[in-house]
Every structure is written in structure tokens, then in C-alpha cells.
């Protein structure tokens, strides 16, 4: 029996959603709570979780295409279904609208998730961190109901039967926290609301322990701790310099057509440095295609292992591979210093990261030596600090190379601007399904295009070629990244 998967309404203002990527392919078995696809809404990119089990039998909306809320985007065929003559059941994927609370109320969230220009890039992490809110974990528990009884469910989109009529169904909609009018009111203290908004915590997913189940700050802090984050301002936390924190929240505002938006301090710095780099540094560009089938397999296996790999992303794989490649081609792990080329001891890779008010480069140390798990852990820590505006001393300094990943967008390839005085920067595009030739046969493959921008004053094409050869080899044989 077929189960229709419909485009859910993920925010109050959402009218349609765009399929960024089908995580599940036709023929794949789908379990409850598994990610079906990544969807872009008017507010943010989100992951659609399966709300029924079965096999993905049909995809009705291709990647990159949009579909209105409520329309069928895919079909699941139910496994081992008994011969019950029921009409096709509707199923809206349960999903996690991570920024909904914040975005609905708060303009400053709007800047997030937008692709900055040039080499600016929001890495995979922020998006994933968002999308993996506490609710995402909820999905790991067996989602109740939906099989036969139309039990009240969170976030269930109104379903229509085949004839287009809309049968009434008891649908409890849990509004997200930050005080939308209507719906169920979430009881939370003002401080809890503020901390939750700052850390993209959906209060609807937080268990309140205050009087009458009211959510207090400690509950939000626990939710953050479960996520592996710590609230920015907690009495337990020792002081850390927070130069940008206050400023950031003040300067961030949603761009409006016809308006003039004051640049944040971060943005001003970026503007100045990028201008200088492009004017002074003679860039040249070299690209290669990397077959990512193995890497995708490895990454998904590791994530399935959970624990220290729970938050592993493709960016981490690229950081590790670039780290080893830089060790093998040390000339690229260098700086131009007027009349000298400075070769660096450590391989510290900057990770271009979009924050609410601009681009920062967070430095992941010793990418050549650190294990994948360590890289994932360091990156998570860096991002958490960056997003709360509480950078530690060397979070943004000492980089010897930079990686910029726009893979979460439908960007096939791009050329990044070098972050001086570094010698090179690697721009990473999306992994996409393409026909590839293997053993004389055209088969489906997963391809990722990377582009290296190098400073021609110290790097020649040969060096760029050697680096890309190493990098490609490592990513195509990714066990080398683990052993």
C-alpha cells in the first residue's frame, strides 16, 4: 500500500518548500525518523524526517525544485502490508523547524543561512547543528501513532484525500516557543526564552521543571548540554573574552530592500581584507572532481556509530584530507612574506563560517594529526563559541590554510578568495549525483568539485596539481582518513 509523503508546513509563513537534496533514493528502505530529504523554506534549511516506514518508491519533486505545502513530494510503499483495502494514507514527514521560533520573532536571525559572497561560506555545521535540535532526537524514539489512528501529532500537516477533500483530523499543533499568537502557549521564563532564542532551542521540545512545568533557564541549559553545547551566560562558566557578543546582537538586522544596513565589525573586516587580497594577491585556480561514493558511505557509517561521530560532517572529512595533503605538499601550508616563503610547522586549517553578522574563519588546529572524531569535536566547540559570541583566544588565529564549503547549497563549484597571508584556499561544492564511467560502464556516482585558489607569487601550478592529486586520492579512499 502506498503512503504519500507531503510537503509539510514548517513555518507559519511557509507556502512552498524546495527540495535541496534527497537523502533517500528511490528503492531505499526508510525507517521512522530517518532523514528523507533536505528542504529549504523561506526561513531555513531543514531536514525532513520520515513519519512512516516503507520503501521510497517514487520521488515526485526533484532536487532543486519547489513544491507547495501539502502537495505530494514522494511515495513510500509500506513493507509487508496486510491486504487491507484502505485508501492511500497520507504522511507528512515530521520535521524539525530549528529556526522557526527565532526567525518568526526575531529579525536578526534572517541573515543566517544566506550564502555570503566570494569565499564566504556557511559550513555544513551550523545548518546541521540547527537542524539537529532536540526534536531530531525525539524522532529516534518510535514516533507514536500515524500508522492507523489519526492520533494528535505535532507538526502534522493537514492531509487531503485523493479527491482533494480535506477530512477533519484532530491535529494538535505545538507552536514553537517565542510567543506566536494563538496555539498552545509554552510556559517559559523570559530568561529561558532569551537563552533559547540565542541558541536556536525550540522551547516546544524542552521539558520544564519550574512551577507548573514552566521552562526555566536551567531547563534550556540542560537541553543545550544534551546537545553538547553550553549556554553562553551561565554562572557556572568562567569568564571568557566576549568581544563581539554585545555588538553582534546589536548590529545584526535583516536586510530590507531599499534600506541601508550598517556593516557589522566582522563584515567590515571581511570587506577590507577580501578587497586587499583580490587586488594584491595574484590568484590562480585549479579544480578537480572527487568521487565521493566511498566518503559518503564512510561518513554515514560513522554517523550511524554515533558517540564521537554523531556530529561528523563532510566538512570534517575535507578538513582531515586537506590536513594530510598539506603535510604531503608542505609548500601550500605556507605564507608569503615579501621576500620569503614561510613554511608552517603546524597544519591549522581555517574554516570559513557564516555567523549572523558576518564571516569568520574558525581555526581547527593540527588537522593532519587530529583524528576525525577530534576534528568533529573541535569544530563543534568552535562553532558553539562562535555562535554565542564567546571566542576563546586562538579560535580565529594561527590558520595556515582555509577551507570554504558551500556544499549545503546547490553550488557545483566556486573559486574562493585567499585569506592573506595564507598561500591557498580550497572551495568545496556540493556532492551531486552524476553519471560516471566506471570500467567502461556509465553508472551513478557521487561527485564533488573542489577548487584550489593559490597565491601565484609562491605557488606554481605544479604544486596546486600535486595537492589536488593527494586530496582527491584521500577522499576517494577515505579509510586513509580514519586509520
Amino acid at each position: 500500500m502506498a503512503i504519500d509523503v507531503t510537503m509539510p508546513k514548517l513555518s507559519d509563513t511557509m507556502e512552498e518548500g524546495k527540495i535541496l537534496r534527497w537523502v533517500k533514493q528511490v528503492g531505499d528502505p526508510v525507517k521512522l525518523g530517518e532523514i528523507l530529504a533536505e528542504v529549504e523554506t523561506d526561513k531555513a534549511n531543514m531536514e525532513l524526517e520520515a513519519y512512516d516506514e516503507g520503501t521510497l518508491s517514487e520521488v515526485k519533486v526533484e532536487e532543486g525544485q519547489s513544491a507547495p505545502v501539502g502537495s505530494v513530494i514522494a511515495v513510500l510503499s509500506a513493507p509487508g502490508e496486510a491486504a487491507q483495502a484502505k485508501p492511500a494514507k497520507k504522511s507528512a514527514p515530521k520535521s524539525v523547524p530549528p529556526k522557526q521560533a527565532a526567525a518568526a520573532e526575531d529579525e536578526e536571525a534572517a541573515a543566517e543561512g544566506e550564502a555570503p559572497e566570494g569565499e564566504a561560506e556557511p559550513p555544513v555545521e551550523p545548518k546541521r547543528a540547527q537542524a539537529k535540535g532536540p526534536a531530531a532526537r525525539d524522532a529516534a524514539k518510535p514516533a507514536p501513532a500515524a500508522k492507523d489512528k489519526p492520533a494528535p501529532q505535532e507538526k502534522e500537516a493537514p492531509a487531503r484525500d485523493d479527491a482533494g477533500r480535506e477530512p477533519w483530523r484532530p491535529t494538535v499543533v505545538r507552536r514553537s516557543a517565542a510567543g506566536e499568537a494563538g496555539g498552545e502557549r509554552v510556559k517559559a521564563s523570559p530568561l529561558a526564552r532569551r537563552v533559547a532564542r540565542d541558541h536556536d532551542v525550540d522551547l516546544a521540545t524542552v521539558r520544564g521543571t519550574g512551577p507548573g512545568g514552566r521552562i526555566v533557564e536551567a531547563d534550556v541549559a540542560s537541553a543545550l548540554e544534551e546537545r553538547g553545547e553550553r549556554p553562553a551566560a551561565s554562572a557556572k562558566r568562567p569568564a571568557e573574552p566576549a568581544p563581539q557578543a554585545a555588538e553582534a546582537s546589536k548590529t545584526a538586522s535583516a536586510p530590507r530592500p531599499g534600506g541601508r544596513v550598517e556593516l557589522s565589525r566582522i563584515r567590515r573586516t571581511t570587506a577590507k581584507r577580501m578587497g586587499e587580497s583580490k587586488r594584491e594577491v595574484p590568484h590562480f585556480y585549479a579544480s578537480t572532481d572527487v568521487l565521493m561514493d566511498e566518503a559518503v558511505h564512510l561518513k554515514e557509517s560513522l554517523v550511524a556509530l554515533g558517540a564521537e561521530y554523531e556530529r561528523l560532517t563532510y566538512t570534517h572529512l575535507v578538513l582531515k584530507a586537506a590536513g594530510i595533503a598539506l603535510r604531503r605538499v608542505p609548500e601550500l601550508n605556507a605564507s608569503y612574506d615579501g621576500d620569503a616563503m614561510v613554511l608552517h610547522d603546524s597544519v591549522n586549517i581555517g574554516m570559513a563560517t557564516a555567523l549572523e553578522d558576518g564571516l569568520v574563519v574558525l581555526v581547527v588546529r593540527d588537522c593532519d594529526r587530529a583524528s576525525l572524531a577530534e576534528i568533529a569535536q573541535r569544530t563543534t566547540g568552535l562553532l558553539e563559541r562562535a555562535r554565542s559570541g564567546r571566542f576563546a583566544g586562538d579560535d580565529m588565529s594561527g590558520g595556515t590554510f582555509t577551507v570554504s564549503n558551500l556544499g549545503m547549497f546547490p553550488v557545483t563549484d566556486f573559486a574562493a578568495i585567499i585569506n592573506p597571508p595564507q598561500a591557498a584556499i580550497l572551495a568545496v561544492g556540493a556532492i551531486r549525483d552524476v553519471p560516471v564511467v566506471r570500467g567502461g560502464q556509465v553508472v551513478a556516482g557521487k561527485l564533488m568539485t573542489v577548487t584550489l585558489s593559490s597565491d601565484h607569487r609562491i605557488i606554481d601550478g605544479v604544486l596546486a596539481g600535486r595537492f589536488l592529486r593527494e586530496l582527491k586520492a584521500l577522499l576517494e579512499n577515505p579509510l586513509a582518513l580514519v586509520v
Binding site: 521564563s189 523570559p190 530568561l191 529561558a192 532569551r194 537563552v195 540565542d198 521543571t209 526555566v216 533557564e217 536551567a218 553562553a232 551566560a233 554562572a235 562558566r237 568562567p238 569568564a239 571568557e240 566576549a242 557578543a245 554585545a246 546582537s249
Partner: protein, 465 residues
């Protein structure tokens, strides 16, 4: 078979409130008290001292009213009557507690209780020791006055607050050792009624432990009222001489000062009363004299709970009451996995004039805890109501977290602040931020406007200064 679900040892503000709450929850409850119902608070602490303090304030108000056009000739103080009235108030309190026990069917045993196998043994002068078998014990024996070596209390020349509250004699001069809450309240009483008062405080400012701005402001005000304040001085020795004493104090750098006075009041804090009740004998763990408890007020011995001054850290009547309720609700299964009583939500009030009140973290403590803070301060002299009522001393200081505006602490000094602090306490409980305080409409003209203005000031938006 136990006689009681709960036996409470001590009928102070912790024990008696706990007993009533237990009875409300259906626990068969008895209270054992060796002295009077109401404990120190009702009998030799909060309540009688507030009676005397309000008389002192009334006297000062009338005496100084000439500048306002109110002239009282022949104004006199009948100090024995002041003390007498305070005793009447204390008696009323004790009777009130007795009435509440009857109303709630709490059994009251007069006598000295001692924890023993299966419950508590009560001894009194009326007969054989009685064994009360209980499922749970709640120990609320409180604290006693602390003294210093060489400052033996004789009740005539060297007093503690307990003797001072009962003495019907108004001394001509008093040296007060200790500039904490109790010390400054008595300083105000004696100075108001005409005694020459010297306060000796070891710390750099009065009211150690509180936000330093409060102690500094109080010192300024006390000096204006004619008192001598010796901060940064420690008691060295005492010599009894005739009807008085000579007290020598040291400034810590070897310089000594000699103070003469008819009375010496020792107000150097209180120590928990752990001895005598059998607590230590049954294995209840203590640390630095205080009983160690968990968030539900459970001690290290199953079935034994402890609250109030025995436990700390804030030796205050309302802390004891809240802890008593917490303990009883824990044993009744009404609270699970609670967080206990958060000391930063407990207000501290001092009833001299100007009054002092605070809740939450001092500015220094907030910074020491690593918080980035914003401070808003608003003086009462900028407030219409304060000017109209001729009480312009003092200020409201608000310490907020810079990131979210969380109200970390509120520190007030001035007339009426012991009542104004409740709003700040509500703010802490509700986890309000400066935004909610600033958005709350405050009636004009009131003293409460000062808190809103302080919240605005912390946000850099103060309107009236």
C-alpha cells in the same frame, strides 16, 4: 508502629512552618520545643527587635519633624515601655503559633528533645522522659549567638542581642563589636534613643558579605547620625571597669584604639546548634559546624532532615521556613528532583534606618562568577516620593547580566526598601530580565519607581537622572 509520621525538633520559624505544612499534607505531626514557640525569631530576634526598631524610627521621625513644620515639645522616651511593648509583641507571636498548631492538629511537646533509636526522647521537668516514635525527624534547632574569647557574656556589661532585647535599661554609651545585620540594627536603636554608639567592624565596610556600596552608604548615613564607625578594626581585648568596660581595638597594622562604654554588644554572628540534640551521635554529617543536606534537606542519615540555621548558608527566618516546606514536601513525595532553595533568590533585609535590602548576587560576586554585568543605580533623591516624604538617603542598585539582561542582584538602601525588595525577588523567581522590570508600569509617585529606573539605568535608558 510509629506514633508520628513526623516529629519536628524546634519550633522556630523553620520548625513551626514545617509542622503546619506537614499537617496540611496529612502527616501526623508533633513538635518538640524546649523554650517558647516561635523560636529566636519570634521571641528574641526578628519580631521583638522590629518592634523596638520601629519605635526608634518613630522617635527620630517626630524629633526631627520640626524642619517639616511638625513641632513636638517635651518629647521623651520611656525605654522600659519600649522594651515592654516588644515583649508583648513576642508573646502574641508565641500565642499565634500555639493557635496555629491547634488549628492544624499539630501535637506540641514541651521539653528538650534528643534523637534516639526510632525517634526522639523528650525530657522535661514534669515527669519521666517520653519516647516519641517517628517515621521522619526534622531537626530545626537553629543557632546561638557567637562570642569571642575574652568577651564572656555577663548579661550586664557584655551582652548579646538576646540580653539586649530584654534589658530595660538604656545605656549611655555602647560599643558594638560587629557591623553585620544585628550590629547595625542595635547601633541604630541605641543611637536613636540618645546613646553614644561606636561600631567596630573587622571588614573594610559595614555589612560584610553584601554589595560593598550598601555598607559604604550605611556608614556615611550612620556617621551623619552621630555614630562612630570603625571599619577595618578588630576587637583585641576587654577590661571590665566599674559600671562599664574598656575595649581595645586594633586596625590590623598594630595601631590600637581604646574605647570606653557602659555596655558592649557582641554581634559577631551566630553558630548552628548541633550539639545536645543527638545529631552527631546518630551519624549526621556536618561540615564547619553546619549540617550537610541535599536539595531536599535530607541529612546523611535516612529519615533525618535538617533545616534553617543548622544548615545555612543564609541564617534567616524565611530561609528556614522555605527549607522547612521543602523538607516536608520532599518527605511527602510532593517534590522530586527539585533544585533546593537557591540562596540567590533569598532576600536579606536589615531594619535600621536607612533600611537595607538585597536579593541575588552582589556586583563583585557576579563578576567573580565570570558574568559580564551591567549595573544600574538610581538614587532616591531623584525620586518625587522620596523628596516629598523627606527621606532621600540611599539608592537602588541593580546588577544585570550584560547578555540577556537577567536580574542577577538587586541591592537597596533607603526608607522602605525592605518592602520594595519583594518585587526584585519575584523578578528573580520568574527569571525576569531588565526588560520586564522596565516594562512594568510603576505607579507615580512611589518609592518603587526606583527599581524600574535602576533597570532602565542598567539598560542605559534611565529617564529621571
Amino acid at each position: 508502629m510509629a506514633d508520628y509520621d513526623l516529629v519536628v525538633l524546634g519550633a522556630g520559624p523553620g520548625g513551626y512552618v514545617a509542622a503546619i505544612r506537614a499537617a496540611q499534607l496529612g502527616l501526623k505531626t508533633a513538635v518538640v520545643e524546649r523554650d517558647r514557640l516561635g523560636g529566636i525569631c519570634g521571641n528574641w530576634g526578628c519580631i521583638p527587635s522590629k518592634a523596638i526598631l520601629s519605635d526608634a524610627a518613630l522617635y527620630v521621625e517626630v524629633k526631627s519633624a520640626a524642619r517639616r513644620g511638625i513641632i513636638a515639645d517635651g518629647l521623651r522616651v520611656d525605654y522600659p515601655r519600649v522594651i515592654g511593648r516588644s515583649r508583648e509583641v513576642a508573646d502574641q507571636q508565641a500565642k499565634g503559633v500555639e493557635f496555629l498548631f491547634k488549628k492544624n492538629k499539630v501535637v506540641y511537646h514541651h521539653g528538650t528533645g534528643r534523637i534516639a533509636e526510632g525517634g526522639l526522647v523528650v525530657t522535661n521537668d514534669r515527669g519521666a522522659p517520653e519516647h516519641l516514635r517517628a517515621k521522619n525527624l526534622l531537626v530545626a534547632t537553629g543557632s546561638r549567638e557567637r562570642t569571642l574569647p575574652g568577651l564572656e557574656v555577663d548579661g550586664k556589661i557584655v551582652l548579646t542581642s538576646r540580653e539586649a532585647l530584654e534589658s530595660r535599661e538604656l545605656p549611655a554609651s555602647v560599643v558594638i563589636i560587629g557591623g553585620g545585620a544585628i550590629g547595625v540594627e542595635f547601633a541604630y536603636v541605641y543611637a536613636s534613643f540618645g546613646a553614644k554608639v561606636t561600631v567596630v567592624e573587622m571588614a573594610a565596610s559595614l555589612l560584610p558579605g553584601m554589595d560593598v556600596d550598601l555598607g559604604r552608604e550605611l556608614e556615611r548615613s550612620f556617621k551623619k547620625q552621630g555614630m562612630d564607625i570603625l571599619t577595618g578594626h578588630r576587637y583585641a581585648r576587654l577590661e571590665r571597669r566599674g559600671d562599664g568596660a574598656v575595649v581595645t581595638v586594633n586596625d590590623g597594622e598594630g595601631r590600637e584604639k581604646v574605647l570606653q562604654a557602659a555596655r558592649v554588644l557582641v554581634a559577631v554572628g551566630r553558630v548552628p546548634l548541633t550539639e545536645g540534640s543527638g545529631l552527631e551521635e546518630v551519624g549526621v554529617q556536618t561540615e564547619k559546624g553546619f549540617v550537610v543536606v541535599d536539595a531536599g534537606m535530607r541529612t546523611s542519615v535516612e529519615g533525618v532532615y535538617a533545616i534553617g540555621d543548622l544548615v545555612g548558608p543564609l541564617l534567616l527566618a524565611h530561609t528556614a521556613s522555605e527549607q522547612g516546606i521543602l523538607a516536608v514536601e520532599t518527605m511527602a513525595g510532593k517534590r522530586r528532583g527539585g533544585r533546593g532553595l537557591d540562596p540567590t533568590r533569598v532576600p536579606v533585609c536589615i531594619y535600621c534606618h536607612p533600611e537595607v535590602a538585597a536579593v541575588g548576587l552582589s556586583e563583585a560576586d557576579a563578576r567573580a562568577a565570570g558574568r559580564e554585568v551591567q549595573v544600574g543605580k538610581f538614587p532616591f533623591r531623584a525620586l518625587g516620593k522620596a523628596m516629598a516624604s523627606a527621606h532621600t538617603d540611599g539608592f537602588v542598585k541593580l546588577v544585570a547580566d550584560a547578555r540577556y539582561g537577567e536580574i542577577l542582584g538587586v541591592h537597596m538602601i533607603g526608607v522602605g526598601v525592605t518592602d520594595l525588595i519583594a518585587e526584585a525577588g519575584l523578578g528573580r523567581t520568574l527569571e525576569a530580565t531588565t526588560e520586564e522590570l522596565a516594562e512594568t508600569v510603576h505607579a507615580h509617585p512611589t518609592l518603587a519607581e526606583a527599581l524600574k529606573e535602576a533597570a532602565l539605568a542598567a539598560r542605559g535608558e534611565a529617564l529621571n537622572i
